[in-house]
Symmetry: C2
Subunit: 219 residues, 2 copies
């Protein structure tokens, strides 16, 4: 019953899309350089200790804001990691969260020092078991993109089918057939045309879509 | 940083099917009567404190065995509950698990004293926030039964379509159309006929099915 020797932390895996040099967008995630032992000078997930007077969601949001300057609207508990030997300096149980942020939120954020974004498919060797946590978050995200409106969180309210496909491709890590994707999405009852088109594209501008809400289902 | 004042517990929501008086099977879950304060004489989820030398899965399996005598093959982490005021005697963060057990496992188990099974749709007022934890587990199970092989865990290796439907009905809490269910299941590529029929049913015995394994997919 050595409760006192087990400490509780929260850690968050943040995903955002980034487009480099006009290429296809890819999935990126930020880490914080550790400035103390253990794992001095290694990259680690943004996070920190749970305070006595805050619940888990609040602790995740707070530590995320303190380190990366991000305040994502999508923040969800992922899994709790409690292996006995996770930390070399005593038992630490970490409640891991996943956050999704839009590119414009990333651009507006004022990250702390020692924060750097990495491509999700080219991670460095991270501190503690954080590589395993990111792998788990990525696997979960890949199953989610197929049945939930994750893409929406990356793109905002309205988007073209090409933009939506680029989100699916970035998360899944491979290209999708454009025609099949279009057919599958437009026959989905969850997606509706807004009646508008993408601005700034004079020649055959692509249609804008959005996800059906409870409101629009009724009408 | 009051780590020492936050204690870590594990709790498990166990689901099993029970058939009463020859009726349709329904979903049941066991609770343990509390013999000390806080919440003396209230029903609570099986569980206990995390020991310093065991990981979370082991703690869930151990505390489950100690209280209910059950050693389920399906034991999965559900969610971590960390509300500040969950316990009246100091901060407790609980890592909740879900277990599914077959009826014959329940019959073979030697439960501790003070264990009683309740119908999942007729729960008593439980200790702490345990009603909320069971509600969450039930909601998760209902989404799972539609895309995973949960039914299998309740039924064992082979089963008739009627048995499979009864599992879906018990979990979902409402009746399903038999013809639609049969059509939907037999067109699913995950279900295969074993070539055998249910024993002890001489007149038009129902076929036995099983889930496709990696092995049978290859052949």
């Amino acid at each position: 019953m050595d409760h006192a020797t087990t400490r509780l932390a929260v850690s968050t895996v943040i995903f955002a899309l980034r487009q480099e040099h006009g290429g296809a967008p890819t999935l990126w995630t930020p880490f914080v350089l550790r400035t103390r032992q253990p794992h001095l000078d290694q990259w680690a997930l943004p996070g920190g200790w749970l305070s006595a007077d805050e619940d888990l969601d609040s602790a995740a949001a707070r530590t995320l804001g303190e380190t990366t300057g991000l305040h994502p609207s999508y923040l969800e508990q992922l899994y709790t990691f409690g292996g006995v030997d996770r930390s070399p300096t005593g038992r630490v149980v970490s409640v891991a969260y996943t956050a999704l942020v839009r590119t414009d939120e990333v651009d507006r954020a004022a990250p702390g020092e020692n924060v750097r974004w990495f491509r999700a498919d080219a991670l460095p060797r991270l501190a503690f078991d954080h590589n395993a946590i990111v792998d788990y978050a990525l696997a979960r995200l890949r199953t989610k993109v197929e049945y939930a409106h994750i893409a929406h969180t990356f793109l905002g309210e309205t988007f073209t089918l090409a933009q939506l496909r680029s989100v699916h491709e970035a998360v899944l890590g491979h290209a999708l057939d454009a025609a099949n994707f279009r057919r599958s999405m437009t026959t989905s009852s969850d997606l509706v045309e807004t009646g508008e088109v993408l601005a700034g594209t004079p020649h055959r501008p692509p249609k804008l879509f959005r996800y059906r809400t409870a409101e629009s289902t009724r009408s």
